[in-house]
């Protein structure tokens, strides 16, 4: 998933309309104010095996997950300290038997709840129970616009058909629907059809998110990296559709790092406006943060409060603000615009999370990663390594993730 409530997505309101974005009025940079939205990764268990999964390679086992009572305590604490929205994610959050109970609890403590799901485990009855429990918004991931590509990428037969069904139930229940489309070399040719699919499903929003390359996606980079021609075509399609579908479908577009000139303002800046709670209860600056070795993350199971962890823990303060920056970030005029890009990507590509994100043209690594991307995209090594608890399974001729 993409940056939640990051500047790029929340600056849409013109000042003249009487609405301004909360964050632009009250910067969290100086105060480390409590984030408006938090991502709760309820479990790493998932029936899908997408090769770009944003979960860490070292997945939390079912036995280490927070219990129902622990999650309820977390939700109460979040509401109390000023969090407004909770995103239930995973893995697959509907794999938790207590999801309806957790959504009800979120509602009871005043949190606006969002379900980020693959939808393949949903039944109409369960979705209806979630709506009754106060669920406010449903996001369903799609791997393509038809089963051939989509089921292969998901590594699950009939997944696409089930998603379409669940998306229709979502709208029948009058819940707002967002379609999340994760894009890469092997499905970008379907983008126009995916946009039309989102319109046909009566979605309000479409997230067109190019794969971000850490964790599982980095292992699969050669099979996923788009060509520069594809990226140019993608931008053209998204721009045209955004104008044509104004008022019908809002499109959020996450550009791919490797072909960017400036790095993304990842997570709105490390420890500035977002945190994530892992299935085992670790409080993380982003969902991929555990890929950075050498950082210790505090848990909600520790004797520290969540607010204390956010404000004082070493992991949050290490890369917070601009004081940690080396050159070229330190003296860069954009340092408070992008906050040096993505720490996880800097770690994955340079071995040091404190380096400039190589997505930036000012990074000494930039040219190399751009060339790597071009070369890998041209090589057409299309075989996936499917995500699972066994450390991944390579795709074979006859078996697509089975």
């Amino acid at each position: 998933m993409s940056d939640i409530l990051a500047g790029s997505k929340t600056t849409g309101a013109a000042p003249s309309d009487g609405l301004a974005v909360l964050e632009s009025q009250r910067s969290t940079a100086e105060t480390f104010g409590i984030p408006l939205a938090v991502l709760a990764e309820l479990t790493h268990r998932c029936p899908l095996q997408c090769p770009y999964c944003s979960n860490p390679i070292e997945l939390d086992r079912g036995g280490s997950e927070l219990t129902t009572e622990e999650w309820k305590k977390v939700l109460s604490e979040l509401a109390e300290i000023g969090v407004l929205q909770i995103h239930f994610s995973g893995g697959e959050p509907t794999a938790r038997k207590d999801l309806v109970e957790l959504v009800q609890h979120a509602t009871d403590v005043g949190l606006y709840s969002n379900l980020i799901t693959s939808a393949v485990l949903l039944t109409k009855e369960r979705l209806s129970a979630l709506a009754d429990a106060g669920l406010c918004h449903v996001q369903i991931s799609f791997q393509g616009n038809e089963p051939m590509v989509a089921d292969r990428v998901a590594g699950l037969k009939n997944a696409h058909e089930k998603k379409i069904e669940a998306a229709k139930w979502t709208r029948e229940l009058d819940l707002p629907l967002t379609v999340n489309a994760v894009m890469h070399r092997q499905n970008l040719h379907q983008l126009s059809d995916i946009i039309q699919m989102a319109v046909d499903l009566d979605a309000d929003r479409l997230e067109v998110a190019n794969v971000q390359y850490y964790g599982w996606a980095l292992k699969n980079r050669a099979a996923l990296m788009p060509t520069i021609e594809q990226i140019e075509e993608t931008s053209r399609i998204v721009e045209e559709a955004a104008v044509r579908l104004k008022g019908i479908l809002a499109i959020d577009y996450v550009v791919p790092d490797y072909y960017a000139l400036r790095p993304k303002k990842c997570m709105g800046g490390w420890g500035r406006q977002f945190f994530n709670i892992s299935p085992a209860g670790k409080v993380l600056p982003c969902h991929a943060a555990e890929s950075i070795t050498g950082l210790e993350f505090e848990s909600v199971r520790s004797n520290h409060s969540i607010a204390w962890i956010w404000q004082n823990s070493e992991a949050f303060n290490r890369y917070r603000g601009t004081g940690w920056m080396p050159e070229p970030c330190k003296s860069c005029e954009f340092r408070e615009i992008d906050f040096g890009g993505c720490r996880c990507q800097a770690f994955a590509l340079t071995g040091d999370a404190g380096n400039t994100d190589p997505a930036c043209t000012l990074s000494p690594m930039h040219e190399k990663i751009f060339k790597d991307a071009e070369r890998e995209a041209a090589a057409h090594q299309d075989r996936f390594l499917y995500r699972n608890f066994a450390g991944g399974t390579l795709e074979t001729e006859g078996e697509h993730g089975a």
């Binding site: 409530l5 929340t10 009250r26 000023g82 407004l84 406010c136 309000d204 104004k246 008022g247 959020d252």
Partner: protein, 103 residues
């Protein structure tokens, strides 16, 4: 369907917030907020006042009457501002309206 999205706001519209758009007072930050999918908006005082009038019963024209009387301001100017603000919210999918059942 009694409610419809993608509306064009006019003087006769009777708008209301859909269930996924919540106007709430944020006790921690001491400001009004609009909670919507993936977004938190901070409406100014006037916007809050207008949104609190959006109950699906009052028309936009009624709102303009009420605000013009309250602030002793020209009705036409207020009406134009209210329509522009509500249309912007509607374009974002954060506003719906009640329509007569046609079937």
């Amino acid at each position: 369907m009694a409610a419809s999205r993608n509306i064009s706001v006019s003087e006769a519209s009777r708008p209301k917030l859909p269930r996924h758009t919540r106007l709430k007072f944020d006790e921690t930050r001491q400001v009004w907020v609009i909670l919507a999918p993936e977004r938190v908006l901070a409406p100014d005082e006037i916007a809050v006042e207008v949104l609190q009038l959006c109950d699906g019963v009052r028309s936009v024209g009624d709102m303009a009457d009420q605000l013009a009387a309250k602030y002793a301001a020209p009705r036409e100017a207020i009406l134009a501002d209210v329509i522009a603000m509500l249309q912007d919210l509607a374009d974002k999918g954060f506003l719906t309206e009640v329509r007569e059942k046609t079937s």
